[in-house]
Structures are given as structure tokens and as C-alpha cells.
């Protein structure tokens, strides 16, 4: 999944680069379960911020500050103490609804996913929720999800300080337009065309006439990612760090 491209930068690293830039200037970023790409981006953003960014990485012993049990992350989010978080989905639709429950009926789903985790709650409360899904296909990015684990938007006037900010995939970056309640193609990754994105996406989205290429990480950031940050990532995601960088925890 992270095969090197001709320029030597893997698809995972392009996604990490895109997410890292979205965290610039924030105070506290939390990373949930099964999120190696966002976790890498958060740890890289912290390294680039000179330690100004606080990162709470679930599943990590070294990079997790919580001491009051499973509830603390959620209480923290509701108080507005977390600026950014990451969610994915077996399906994500054009309204930024996500499905973590299953396909083909409920409760007797034909294909069952693990479940909604904290999404139904955190999506409403954390201002900058970045969606990520490496597989960019009509199977994962659909016009309407089979089950809404967490709703992308809420009725006007409903208490909703949080919500979708962007969707980062293996092909591109979409920004979420809150007013229009839809995605806009923000950039395509190196070697990918907007037409290719259109063909691989099951939902309709806005796009400008000319779509820029996702900006790569500069040499300094890439070097940091592949060394210090990779070793930090390996503590929580050993298989991912080994596969992506051939690095073990340190």
C-alpha cells in the first residue's frame, strides 16, 4: 500500500504531508484507534512545531497524557480542549456522513464493520475533524452511506461546534464546504488527474477549473518523518512503521 513512487515519496507519505499541513498552528490534536497515517501526521506536526502542538495518541503509552480512564478524551472534547481529530469509515458519502457499522441492512448486516467507536460524538464536538481513507474507490466513497454512524452536518441552529474539515484519500484532498454541505476537490496527489478522481468517486463534488497538486513535504520534514517520527509511530503502530519506513520503535 505504500509502494514508493518515482519521486521516492510513498502514497502514505503524501497523505501524511497533506494532513500535517492542516494541523499547523493548532494547540491540541487527538488521534483515535486504527489511525497510523493521522498519527504519523500529528507526531510530525508536533516535531515541526518545536513541541508547541500537544498530541494525544490513543493506544500509546508514551504519547497519551490521559489519566482518568476511557471517558477523559470525550469529556476533554466536549469542553473544547481538542482542536483536531481524525475519523475514517467503511463508507464515506458526499454529505460527509460516515459508516463504521456495516453494509446491507441492520442489524443483520451482510458485511459487518467493527462499529462506530466515538465517532457519533466526537464529530459534533471537535472543530476540525479530518476524514481519511486510503482506498479511494466508488466502493468506499459513495453517494449515500448504508448506515450513518456519525452525521456530517446538523440542522441549522443545532449545537454543533465540530464537524468535517477535509477528506484525505490515496488520490486527493477534498475540503468540506460547510455552507454548501459538500466536498470540493482541493488538490490531487502527484501523478493523479482530476478526471481520475471523478471516476473513482461515488459522490458528486465541486471542483475548480484547474486543480493544484498536493504540496509535498519539504526535504527537512520528510527526513524528520522517516527518522525520529517514524520511531515514535512504531511504538503504537509497529506493523505500519515497519512496512512504510522499515523502522522499529525507539
Amino acid at each position: 500500500m505504500s509502494a514508493a513512487r518515482p519521486d521516492g515519496v510513498s502514497r502514505a507519505e503524501v497523505m501524511i504531508g497533506a494532513i500535517t499541513r492542516m494541523l499547523d498552528g493548532l494547540g491540541h490534536v487527538a488521534v483515535g484507534a486504527s489511525s497510523p497515517i493521522p498519527g504519523s501526521a500529528a507526531l510530525l506536526a508536533r516535531a515541526l512545531s518545536g513541541g508547541a502542538l500537544r498530541v494525544s495518541l490513543l493506544g500509546s503509552r508514551r504519547h497519551n497524557p490521559f489519566t482518568d480512564g476511557g471517558r477523559e478524551l470525550f469529556d476533554c472534547a466536549a469542553q473544547g480542549r481538542i482542536d483536531a481529530f481524525f475519523l475514517s469509515g467503511g463508507q464515506i458519502d458526499g454529505g460527509a456522513n460516515i459508516n463504521l457499522v456495516g453494509l446491507g441492512g441492520y442489524p443483520q448486516s451482510k458485511v459487518r464493520f467493527p462499529g462506530s467507536f466515538g465517532s457519533a460524538y466526537l464529530y459534533h464536538l471537535i472543530p476540525r475533524v479530518i476524514l481519511f481513507r486510503e482506498e479511494h474507490s466508488p466502493r468506499t466513497l459513495v453517494s449515500k452511506v448504508d448506515f450513518v454512524s456519525a452525521a456530517g452536518t446538523s440542522p441549522e441552529g443545532e449545537f454543533r461546534p465540530g464537524g468535517p474539515h477535509a477528506l484525505v484519500t490515496g488520490l486527493c484532498v477534498f475540503a468540506f464546504e460547510k455552507a454548501g454541505r459538500r466536498f470540493r476537490l482541493e488538490s490531487v496527489h502527484p501523478g493523479v488527474s482530476p478526471a481520475q478522481v471523478r471516476a473513482a468517486t461515488g459522490f458528486d463534488f465541486a471542483a475548480a477549473g484547474r486543480v493544484p497538486t498536493t504540496k509535498p513535504l519539504d526535504r527537512n520534514a520528510l527526513a524528520l518523518l522517516r527518522t525520529d517520527v517514524a520511531r515514535q509511530v512504531a511504538e503504537t503502530y509497529p506493523a505500519f512503521a515497519a512496512r512504510t519506513w522499515g523502522v522499529a520503535a525507539g
Partner: protein
């Protein structure tokens, strides 16, 4: 209050609601094996907030009628195979939740109140499938502020594994305070421990901060390695090979039965 493992399993009656932690938080795996050996039936499992290997073992062994959890996951080992099969065949009832709703329900029980309000969740299909979750207008607001109420979750039994108990029956859990929440909320709390130390944790402030007082602990059984194969933080890591072997075996009902005969019932296969 210290009893044998098989006796501890007998303290979990059929049809009990049973709260269990996720794989990383101190799972009483050996006690779950004893529960399966006594052929427990019709449990209502509550994943706090999710279920993993022990939930899948119990489902595969036919001990479970229903599950409430925010997720069912084996982490990097994927979806719990016997859970997925049971859902496909409609053999267990699933009450899908979201992590903070489970915590909030337990907090309500901890406080002895009927419900806990929580932000978010509105617009999720979870709400449509949970008639026990109510939406009201914030009674302290100016109107037009819907908020979800979660009913108290009061498990019949909380079951988990910890590093140590002391001679008074206090249980040290360190930073795993969701275990404290479970013990506060449940009617009965059964704990397996690596060892019993001849001391009193409550006399040492450093230890006391991470200790469940014996007040909340019904029964303890000593089970060295009691969290194997999922592991116990600070004591021993997950046995990745054993976990992978389970997932491979449990892909079919027959494979699960063979695995259980060997790993749980210790039958010698020809």
C-alpha cells in the same frame, strides 16, 4: 474473598449482564475460559467501550445472547470472526453504541441516577435503533437545544484482570480507571490478579490513587498470566502468534470448536 478460578466463574450466572474491558485494559481471559467450561448461557455482554477476543470467545462458545458495545474489534487482527458470523446469521442481538455513551451510562449508574445527558449523537442512525436513548430539549436552555439522554448501565457483573490485590482485597489498576468506573457501576465485581501482595495499598498514596477499594470488589481469584494471550500492560505483552492462530482457526464454526477443545477444554486431539 479469594477463591478458585472455576468457583469465580460460577459466580457469573446465566443471563447476567457482564461488563468487560477492551483487549488492552486488563482482560480476565483465564476466567472467561472457566466461564466457557461451565457452559454459561444467554449472557448480555457490555463492552466498555468495545469488545475483543474475550467477547469473540464467548460468542463462539454460544454463551452470549446480546451485546452492547461501541465497537467489536481485534485491533490489527481485524473483525472478531465469531461475532461477524453471529451477526450475519442473526444469532445475537446487537445494541450498537458509541464510546462516550457507554461511559456515560456507567457514570449514571455510579451516581445512582437514571440517566446521563450527552452532547453529539444527534443525526446518527445509532439513535434510530436505540429506543432506550431519548432526546429532550435542554430543560435549562432557552428552547431549541436537543440533547440525548443515555439510560444508566448497571451491569450485574464486572469482570477484569489486574496486576495485584493486597491482603485487604483492594485491587491496584494503575492508570486504567475505566476499570474503576466498571467496579463502581456494577452490582458485583469479580477480579482475577497476577498475585496478592502482603500489604495495604491504601496506606501508600502513590498506590492508593490507582487502587479500587475492596468496598467495590466482590471476589478475587489468583490467576498468574490471567490476561494471556491478549497481554497485560506493564506485565507481559500480547502473544501475537497465539492471537493470530485463534483468528485463523475461528474463521469457521468447526475451526473454532477445534480451537476451543484444545485451548479451553484441554482435550487431547488425536
Amino acid at each position: 474473598m479469594v477463591i478458585e478460578l472455576e468457583e469465580l466463574a460460577r459466580r457469573i450466572p446465566d443471563a447476567a449482564s457482564l461488563a468487560i474491558p477492551p483487549d488492552y485494559s486488563g482482560c480476565a481471559m483465564q476466567a472467561v475460559k472457566a466461564l466457557i467450561r461451565r457452559r454459561c448461557r444467554n449472557l448480555h455482554l457490555i463492552g466498555v467501550p468495545s469488545g475483543g477476543f474475550q467477547a469473540d470467545w464467548l460468542i463462539g462458545a454460544g454463551c452470549v445472547a446480546s451485546v452492547e458495545a461501541a465497537a467489536m474489534t481485534l485491533g490489527e487482527h481485524g473483525l472478531p470472526p465469531r461475532f461477524a458470523a453471529a451477526i450475519r446469521r442473526g444469532r445475537i442481538a446487537m445494541k450498537d453504541a458509541t464510546c462516550p455513551a457507554i461511559h456515560a451510562g456507567l457514570q449514571a449508574a455510579e451516581k445512582g441516577i437514571p440517566f446521563m445527558p450527552l452532547r453529539g449523537i444527534l443525526g446518527s442512525d445509532l439513535l434510530a435503533h436505540r429506543p432506550d436513548w431519548k432526546v429532550i430539549d435542554n430543560p435549562l436552555g432557552a428552547g431549541g437545544d436537543p440533547i440525548v439522554l443515555l439510560p444508566a448501565i448497571r451491569p450485574d457483573v464486572a469482570l477484569f484482570h489486574a496486576r495485584a490485590a493486597d491482603r485487604a482485597g483492594n485491587v491496584w489498576i494503575g492508570v486504567r480507571r475505566e476499570l474503576m468506573l466498571m467496579a463502581h457501576a456494577a452490582r458485583s465485581t469479580l477480579v482475577t490478579v497476577e498475585r496478592i501482595e502482603d500489604t495495604d495499598f491504601l496506606t501508600d498514596e502513590t498506590m492508593a490513587a490507582g487502587t479500587i477499594p475492596a468496598l467495590y470488589v466482590s471476589t478475587i481469584a489468583v490467576a498468574p498470566g490471567g490476561a494471556r494471550p491478549v497481554g497485560l500492560a506493564g506485565a507481559y505483552p500480547p502473544d501475537v502468534e497465539a492471537l493470530a492462530a485463534y483468528v485463523e482457526a475461528a474463521r469457521t464454526e468447526e475451526g473454532f470448536r477445534r480451537w476451543a477443545d484444545e485451548a479451553i477444554f484441554a482435550k487431547v486431539t488425536a
